[in-house]
């Protein structure tokens, strides 16, 4: 169903990474008119 996207980004904290990824989803990666999305931060120093 839909798409599975993996992004790598550098962020100072898990919260910052999540916030930035959420903006990307809202603005581009998902179309809220036709799609829902789930978001998870994984890996790196954020753990």
């Amino acid at each position: 169903m839909g798409k599975h996207l993996v992004l790598e980004l550098k962020a100072a904290s898990r919260d910052e990474a999540l916030a930035r990824a959420r903006v990307m989803c809202d603005r581009l990666l998902a179309n809220p008119v036709t799609e829902d999305y789930d978001l998870a931060v994984d890996g790196g120093a954020a753990r």
Binding site: L28, N31, V33, T34
Partner: protein, 238 residues
């Protein structure tokens, strides 16, 4: 004579026909490259069909971030006429200038054949020369043409007469309420999935689409005529 800007994105492929159709209808038409930021005093903006940016991610999703889209949005918000055809319709939806979105055809295959649409509304800049209820034969060529909106928005579109064209005979792509084209609340931004520019001369098999472009010019004439009538009381009562 209206100034008609046809926006060219990387991957647009109906730009030349669209410009030709606008010029054939008497407009002063010209191309505007997506990297530009100036519409050069356009009266009407047309986003043509094609596969802008390869349709990556979603059709229209990347094009809406193009430089020129800031000016297109400004033009639309100021009440200027904007038409999106096929990929242009998808871009307008992604840009939030039209409600809804366009998803993969219900049959999952690219659709390339004539479709039949009924003109539902004639008070837009692109349909004012049609009669309500007229059925047009226009070529369709799309993979992502299934118009989707939530039930509440669909009901609102119907209640406010914003469905401009509706598929008849069959629903070729599974669109909600057989919607082939819609307009915004201001009725100045219009999107259509099939290609009127491909059916605007007898040599192309018919001219059912021609009046989309002639309407742009006629609306100007009509407004002018209304101004003249308003000067003369007797004519106002007619």
């Amino acid at each position: 004579m209206k100034r008609v800007a046809v926006i060219v994105f990387p991957g647009s492929n109906c730009d030349a026909e669209t410009l030709a159709a606008a010029r054939a209808a008497g407009s002063d038409g010209y191309f505007v490259w997506h990297r530009d930021t100036d519409l050069r005093q356009a009266d009407v903006v047309i986003l043509p069909g094609g596969f802008s940016y390869g349709d990556y991610l979603r059709s229209g999703a990347i094009a809406r971030f193009s430089n020129i889209m800031g000016a297109v949005t400004g033009h639309a918000r100021a009440g200027g006429a904007v038409l999106g055809i096929c990929n242009g319709f998808q871009i307008l939806c992604e840009a939030g200038l039209l409600p809804g979105g366009l998803m993969r055809n219900a049959r999952l295959r690219f659709l390339s054949r004539p479709v039949w649409v009924r003109v539902e509304q004639t008070d837009t800049p692109f349909t004012c020369l049609y009669e309500k209820g007229e059925v047009l034969e226009i070529p369709a060529a799309h993979g992502d043409g299934r118009y989707v909106v939530d039930a509440r928005t669909a009901a609102e579109l119907e209640a406010t007469d914003r469905v401009v064209w509706r598929y008849v005979r069959d629903n070729p792509n599974g669109s909600v309420n057989e919607i082939a084209g819609v307009t915004n609340a201001g009725r100045n931004v219009v999107g259509i999935m099939p290609h009127p520019e491909r059916r605007d001369a007898p040599a192309l098999g018919g001219q059912d689409g021609a009046r989309v472009f002639h309407s742009m010019e006629a609306r100007h004439a009509t407004q002018h005529a209304a101004d003249v009538r308003a000067v003369d009381d007797r004519h106002l009562r007619v």
